[in-house]
């Protein structure tokens, strides 16, 4: 089979052993997105024709078996990507109560694959210019945006949108043509108005869609310092929509007044995450880091598609790297990108009910990983991900793998911080303070003195003032999250 021509299964993004139903569903999904009446990017009509052709062959069992005979044998492995799975326990135990099991999945580029060029970017900076940004914040944002332009490569598409209660396109999406003009336009941005994130996001999406191209990394970076009111739901819906087109949204919050939970929710719907900028001086730093990560993309999106098994519940999912952040649990989970130098690691917590343990083995999850590699013209065949465990009457004595243990020890810290948050919200200040005290003692034992101190001060503040101190909650949240990244790095050394 010539390499240029991908096989019908890959075109539809289904496995060789897919059922007729799965093929049908994949076809409908793809066709809806790529139909000539609706598609936006060049080349999508051709893709649509390919999908139709593939479906014509695969939808008839007779034609399908004829076609199968012409295919080289399925090696059962993916030539571009490899994955590894670690379980917290070698088997489950027959119990009359619910039990937990943790699974760590690592997905990385196969070392031996040919070097895939990094894809060109299609990026929009969406900048908050509300009155609260006045002064150092806006100056730093401008400087960072200009720095960002200068680091772009000739093949990258770039745009800038400024927003307050209405949006303004500062730099329309284009390959950089007149850099000096764009820079002066950014310099001239003046602060005014209130923060309405949906306005900015919508205009940013419009710009990115101008340059939308499946062979690029399409991304929006949203920089804000304030709360948005009333348009949260619309923003989330928009994020879900653009995620379908593989557009990612990164949220960056400056200072103490923005809504981290909301930004996280937007970002995680697109497989991305949010970050916290405590001082305006760090804006540039963070943008440079983000640019490097985007320019270093190997796969721009990994999607976990799965069916929930009876009696098994995915309770919690968290990405450890490349960017730490909670994952939204849904039948199609966006796990985020794989970078050339940073594989994708994520951890799942399953709750298993006794009713699920009737047989000798139990399937925790049955699904597949769909990987989109922007720089590669042909689709990558999905990877089957089946997580099964034996069910035994006795607990296995063997200790959990160090990798899982280490990741969980850090994730526990993050979740304690989350619990303190929920307790403050419901007015349980004593309990919130206790959680922070516990967190502090664990941080101390892991050598994180500075952060432990912050947690203790915060506990004290909550007891006295019945609320978080300005910025204290975000500092603890994003720093414990950063610890998770460190835990991954430590173990690779």
């Amino acid at each position: 089979m010539p390499i240029s021509k991908s096989d019908h299964y890959a075109v539809l993004g289904v496995l060789r052993d897919a059922t007729q139903e799965e093929i049908k569903r994949a076809y409908f999904e793809a066709a809806q997105k790529l139909h000539p009446d609706k598609n936006v990017a060049p080349g999508e009509t051709e893709l649509f024709l390919e999908i139709q052709q593939a479906y014509e062959v695969l939808s008839s069992p007779q034609r399908r078996s004829q076609y199968d005979a012409t295919l080289p044998p399925d090696l059962g492995m993916n030539t571009l990507v490899k994955h590894q799975v670690f379980f917290s326990r070698p088997n489950l135990v027959k119990l009359n109560e619910p039990q937990l099991v943790y699974v760590l999945v690592e997905i990385s580029q196969r070392d031996e694959t040919e070097k895939i060029p990094t894809p060109p970017l299609n990026i929009c900076l969406v900048l908050d210019r509300s009155t609260s940004m006045q002064g150092e914040k806006l100056d730093m944002v401008k400087a960072a945006a200009i720095q960002f332009i200068r680091s772009l490569r000739p093949q990258d598409i770039f745009s800038v949108v400024a927003f307050s209660d209405r949006p303004e396109v500062i730099v329309p999406a284009s390959l950089q043509m007149d850099r000096a003009k764009q820079e002066s336009r950014i310099q001239m941005m003046k602060p005014f108005g209130a923060t309405e994130i949906f306005q900015g996001l919508e205009a940013g999406v419009k710009e990115v869609r101008h340059g939308l191209d499946p062979s690029r990394v399409n991304h929006i970076i949203l920089l804000t310092d304030g709360h948005t009111y009333g348009d949260e739901q619309a923003s989330l819906e928009l994020a879900e929509q653009v995620a379908q087109q593989n557009i990612g949204i990164t949220g960056m919050g400056i200072g103490n007044e923005w809504n981290d939970i909301f930004l996280d929710a937007i970002a995680s719907r697109t497989g991305s995450s949010s970050s916290y900028i405590s001082s305006p001086k760090d804006i540039q730093n963070l943008l440079v880091k983000k640019f490097k990560a985007l320019a270093n993309t190997f796969a721009d999106e990994v999607i976990l598609e799965f069916k929930q098994q009876d009696g098994v519940q995915m309770n919690y999912a968290f990405r450890l790297q490349p960017e730490g952040g909670p994952l939204t649990v849904e039948p199609q989970m966006r796990l985020g990108p794989i970078l050339q130098d940073a594989p994708l690691h994520f951890l799942i917590e399953f709750v298993v009910q006794p009713s699920a343990l009737k047989n000798e083995t139990i399937a925790l999850l049955d699904g597949s990983l769909k990987i989109s590699i922007a720089a590669r013209p042909t689709p990558v065949p999905p990877i089957r991900l089946r997580l099964t465990r034996d069910v035994k009457t006795d607990a296995a004595p063997s200790p959990p793998p160090t990798k899982v243990l280490r990741a969980l020890s850090r994730l526990t810290l993050y979740r304690m911080q989350e619990r303190a948050h929920t307790e403050v919200e419901v007015g349980n200040y004593e309990s919130a303070s206790r959680h922070l005290h516990n967190l502090a003692s664990h941080l101390l034992s892991q050598g994180e003195q500075q952060l432990a101190k912050t947690a203790l001060l915060e506990a004290d503040h909550i007891e006295r003032m019945h609320n978080w101190s300005a910025g204290g909650d975000k500092a603890i949240k994003y720093h414990t999250r950063a610890l998770l990244l460190n835990s991954v790095k430590e173990k690779e050394q």
Binding site: S88, V404, S445, G447
Partner: protein, 169 residues
Amino acid sequence: MIVCPNCKHTNMAGTMFCSECGAQLVGKDSLITQNIAPGQDEVLPQGPSVPPRSYQPGGADAWGSLHLLDTGQVLPLTGRNEFTLGRISEGQPIMPDIDLSPYQAYASGVSRLHAVVKRDGGRIIIMDLGSANGTYINGKRVVTNVEQILNHGDIVALGKLKIQVLLKS
């Protein structure tokens, strides 16, 4: 169900870290079994407890090792003849050879430079370096800056941090 030994919170089976207080619940069973008999936590025994002779402290080239009774870690003494014990803290010019801060040294009252353990011919010696909370051998406080001979199985306390000395015969 797993009841957390630290805060008595009941967790689901399979939990690895207590969801209430964050204490580690699994993965250190092997370490717990190394702890010596109960009762020794409160009052130090008269005679040293006798560790199994078959135990090889810290590999082939170590001349001894330190067994931290509270956490179960074993730190080998190898590569040189003298080790200072203490904890590293910020802005401290002199570093101890063995940093005990990962083992709750601060909470146990270990000084930054607490004591020194050295090998002198066939003898193993410990000397308190003027610590704030003192050094004890089998419950008896030693005099600062005076060398004391250690025997296999002795329990040394730096402040409240208890360490069993395992020597290679």
